[in-house]
């Protein structure tokens, strides 16, 4: 009789293979490459943004009248104290908030409505409508301002004739700011529509289709599916509005109201410009610049956080 046992089949043994090691020179070269690619961009940023920023910060602690031959005197925090004690700054900030609030309908609400409506139009007419809405963006701000000045003219302007009013739109404290907001809004609304449009195009149509099959009415599809999925785009537009509204209005203020009447349209950027280039008080303007810079950084950080919390991302 033959005897035997069962034996477990031996499986291939796994061995640890040592990791490939790069020589010091190779490692160095690998480490440097990304920085080499970034270098041109960083250089430009340093020359055009960070260096002026540093100079501004430096200037904000000095008194200087912008005349190259006149001396620069160190004054410590005097510029900041002057800024914070006179009421000008607070008023400019408030006007900036007004502009931002006034711009939001033009950059968020109207574009959403327009984009939703234009979406229902099919074929060539759609392109025509989009071109029409976008056209104002192509008009140079100063040229637009000239036309609006003429339209808003108190004696012969078309606006007064159409509305049957008798207002001096740009030279009355109560209407000057409103006029500026509407003109700026007219100017940027086309761009905002385009951004919303792009956002909508990026939403997979299956979601809307699924919602319709699930029984949602067109209104429910918009409220429950389209708008939530559009929220990153809307947050982006909101952020742009908060950070850039005051800049968008600048050329109009400069050509139409020069910050008046009695400072009613002076926002932070216009104040900054006035301090520096009207009063030739470089130190004070620099201090204001530094404050606004810090302020906008804080606002931007808060808004980005908020947007991340509130928006939904498609994956």
């Amino acid at each position: 009789m033959v005897t035997g046992t069962f034996e477990v089949v031996t499986r291939p043994v796994s061995r640890t293979v040592p990791a490939v090691r790069l020589s010091g020179w190779h490692r160095l070269r690998r480490g440097i490459v990304p920085y080499a690619y970034l270098a041109p961009a960083v250089a430009l940023l340093v020359v055009w943004t960070y260096q002026p920023l540093a100079q501004t910060a430096y200037l904000s602690f000095h008194s200087w009248n912008l005349v190259p031959t006149s001396p620069m005197a160190a004054v410590g925090t005097a510029n900041y104290e002057r800024l914070l004690t006179t009421g000008e700054l607070g008023e400019a900030v408030w006007h900036t908030v007004e502009v931002i609030a006034g711009m939001l309908p033009f950059t968020v609400a109207i574009p959403v409505v327009v984009a939703l409506l234009v979406r229902r139009i099919r074929g060539r007419a759609q392109a025509v409508y989009r071109a029409l809405v976008f056209a104002p963006m192509l008009v140079a701000p100063v040229a637009g301002a000239a036309v609006w000045q003429w339209l808003l003219d108190p004696s012969a302007g078309a606006v007064n004739r159409v509305l049957g009013t008798d207002l001096n739109w740009l030279n009355t404290t109560s209407t000057a700011q409103l006029s500026l907001i509407v003109i700026t809004g007219w100017h940027v609304v086309g761009f905002a529509v385009l951004v919303v449009w792009a956002g909508m195009t990026g939403i997979n149509p299956d979601y809307g289709d699924a919602a319709r099959v699930d029984g949602a009415t067109p209104g429910q599809v918009t409220r429950w599916v389209t708008l939530p999925l559009l929220s990153p785009t809307l947050a982006f537009l909101g952020l742009m509005t908060v950070l850039l509204s005051a800049q968008w209005t600048f050329p109009l203020i400069d050509t139409l109201t020069q910050g008046g009447p009695v400072g009613a349209t002076t926002n932070v950027y216009y104040l900054l410009w006035e301090l520096g280039f009207r009063s030739h008080d470089a130190g004070l303007a620099a201090a204001a610049g530094v404050l606004f810079f810090v302020g906008f950084i804080v606002v931007a950080a808060l808004l980005t956080r908020l947007a991340d919390r509130l928006t939904h991302h498609d994956d």
């Binding site: 997979n204 289709d209 699924a210 099959v213 029984g215 009415t217 429950w224 994956d315």
Partner: protein, 368 residues
């Protein structure tokens, strides 16, 4: 549950005819599988049933109501999308409850129903997750849950298993089949996977270039394919197709090609004609007596079975049989097939040929 009828449904996109004059009647409680290669118009057909795409011509009927012009939200059908289309901003519970929310049901009602469906689909632990935090199989079940929550007249499913791995696909396939049995649901199920079609369907409609090539039970479409397209689309490896001629001999009708001579088992005479001979790889058997004289060119191992690729005359034939076939490349073999396993097709139209005796009194005789 409803009956779904499609009458002459057609959809053109410019010069492309995606769906071409489709007539189908899906009985209450039936699971109809739409089977066809990519681009044959399956999704287009399904979207027309759902109301997401207006047909160019034809009508859609749910029970006895013509719903051709009714918008999707007022048709009583639920759809599972190929992409699942789970709302990314809503939780699993929000996704499943969405159809009820659209129907303005009370919150308590929705919560109760969602819990019930989630329990049945083993999703209870995931109700608060967002779709992006789920695996493919879990997403698939949520998509199914969103359809199940509402008791629709019919379910439309567009390749719901195509994103799953082989194992998950097998289990989910069984789950859907079980669901169909348990609910007695009317289901129109789109797939290009013939295994899904054969195992799940009560009836299969094979589509090619927008047209229904054949509709019948899985056994019918497999055993009596109506055309060369259906014959070669179902079965793996595909049915062997060989151009041949039918001739009358002393022993009855015979089908002939180079190195091939197989009796059809019909004792009659007929003028000779060209045909396409079809025979499935598993129906070819190795014998000594040569019906087909062939040379083996390669052998493939499928695990349980083996496939031998052979050359007979100018044609290649696949032979499938239990492993081991004991064949090697270069072997000369004799092959034969039983008459009932031979399919004849018209070379011009690709349509199936059936034998009909000139005597009117005798009923037609089908090959198969």
């Amino acid at each position: 549950m409803s009956r779904v009828r499609l009458q002459g449904l057609t959809r053109r996109f410019g010069s492309v005819t995606a769906v071409d004059d489709v007539w189908l009647d899906v009985a209450d409680g039936e699971l109809l599988v739409l089977l066809g290669p990519s681009g044959c118009g399956k999704s287009t057909l399904l979207r027309m049933i759902a109301g997401l795409l207006p047909p160019t011509a034809g009508r859609v009927l749910l029970d006895d109501t013509d719903v051709t012009t009714v918008p999707p939200q007022r048709r009583d059908v639920a759809m599972v999308f190929q992409s699942y289309a789970l709302y990314p901003h809503l939780s699993v519970a929000g996704n499943i409850g969405f159809p009820l929310r659209a129907r303005r049901r009370s919150r308590a009602d929705i919560r109760r129903k969602v819990t019930e469906v989630a329990g049945a689909l083993d999703l209870s632990a995931l109700l608060d997750r967002k779709p992006r935090e789920l695996s493919g199989g879990q997403r698939q079940r949520v998509a199914l849950g969103r359809a199940l929550v509402r008791d629709p007249g019919a379910f439309l499913m567009d390749e719901p298993l195509s994103n799953l791995d082989a194992r998950l696909r097998a289990t989910t396939r069984a789950e859907i089949a079980e669901l169909h049995r348990a609910l007695g649901a009317t289901i129109v199920y789109v797939t290009h996977d013939q295994v899904e079609a054969m195992t799940m369907a009560t009836r299969v409609a094979v589509l090619d270039q927008g047209r229904v090539e054949q509709a019948g039970t899985p056994a019918e479409v497999y055993d009596e394919p109506a055309s060369v397209f259906v014959a070669t689309f179902l079965g793996a490896p595909a049915m062997n197709i060989v151009p041949a001629t039918v001739v009358a001999t002393d022993g009855g009708l015979t089908v002939r090609a180079t190195d091939l001579d197989l009796p059809l088992g019909i004792d009659a005479t007929t003028p000779g004609r060209d045909v396409l001979l079809g025979v499935r790889p598993e129906h070819l058997t190795l014998t000594g007596e040569p019906g087909i004289r062939a040379v083996v060119t390669a052998v493939e191992n499928l695990g349980g079975d083996e496939v031998a690729h052979c050359r007979a005359g100018t044609h290649t034939l696949a032979v499938r049989g239990p492993r081991p076939l004991r064949l090697a490349a270069g072997d000369r073999v004799g092959l034969t097939a039983r008459p009932e396993h031979l399919h004849l097709f018209d070379p011009g139209t690709g349509g199936r040929l059936v034998w009909r005796t000139a005597d009117i009194a005798t009923p037609e005789r089908n090959f198969a």
